[in-house]
């Protein structure tokens, strides 16, 4: 079976981090850590491999608790930050606000 190339790249990871207004922490080489907050609550995080914009980021869907299809929608814009938050609430990955 021919390889299709990475489903998600560093470029996609950076776009998603921007979209979710992630806080970027510089980690050990080769990663940066993208941390997503909702209000004061840290709800998700994922590593971004630096170096080339083409590095594979196949772990993004599980880190974001989404299917690959929805992760692609998040990277390519049709899925908004609010829609992702709704998915996270549906999966009870955001604690109920008082």
């Amino acid at each position: 079976v021919p390889r299709r190339g990475p489903l998600f790249t560093t470029y996609d990871a950076e776009r998603i981090a921007d979209k979710l207004e992630a806080v970027i922490e510089q980690g050990r080489r080769p990663h940066a850590l993208a941390i997503v907050y909702h209000g004061d609550q840290r709800i998700a995080h994922f590593g971004i491999r630096r170096g080339s914009r083409d590095h594979g980021h196949g772990h993004l869907p599980s880190a974001l608790h989404l299917s690959p299809h929805h992760t692609r929608r998040l990277a390519d814009c049709p899925m908004s930050y609010e829609e992702w938050i709704a998915v996270m609430k549906e999966k009870r990955l955001i604690a109920e606000e008082n």
Binding site: V1, A44, H57, G58, H59, P68
Partner: protein, 132 residues
């Protein structure tokens, strides 16, 4: 409003949703099939040490290394942490770095600021790792 116009509108809307859902399902089937084929060749490699980093392991951590579209994916499923590399070894080493990055980052966070999943991840990591 004319019944036929309303009916046609909702019929088209339903067809559009059906097409989107079918595309989504097809994508998921292709992805799952590819993942199952890759899993057949996957291997589990234990992390035995973080040396020379100043952390001790309380017990080995099992890492799944699998072939991916452009290299290898390394995953520590217990804490839902994953990354990739051009080779199996690189993916494994990258994962070790990322696990420590996550551990440090989560430990710096005030406990009340951690959502359900990050809190669970930290609890899992603390059952495996101790800062020396």
């Amino acid at each position: 409003m004319d019944f036929d116009v309303v009916y046609t509108f909702f019929r088209r809307l339903a067809m559009a949703n059906e097409t989107t859902n079918r595309k989504s399902l097809e994508d998921r089937i292709v992805d799952l099939t590819a993942r199952m084929e890759r899993r057949a060749d996957a291997k589990i490699v234990p992390i035995q040490t973080f040396e020379p980093e100043p952390y001790s392991l309380l017990k080995p951590m099992s890492v799944l290394i699998e072939d991916s579209e452009d290299g290898y994916l390394a995953s520590f499923f217990d804490a839902n942490i994953g990354t990739s590399g051009e080779t199996e070894q690189e993916a494994f080493e990258n994962l070790k770095s990322l696990v420590l990055d996550m551990f440090d980052s989560l430990n710096r966070e005030a406990p009340e600021r951690l959502g359900p999943e990050p809190a669970r991840q930290l609890a899992v990591l603390r059952s495996f790792i101790r800062a020396a």
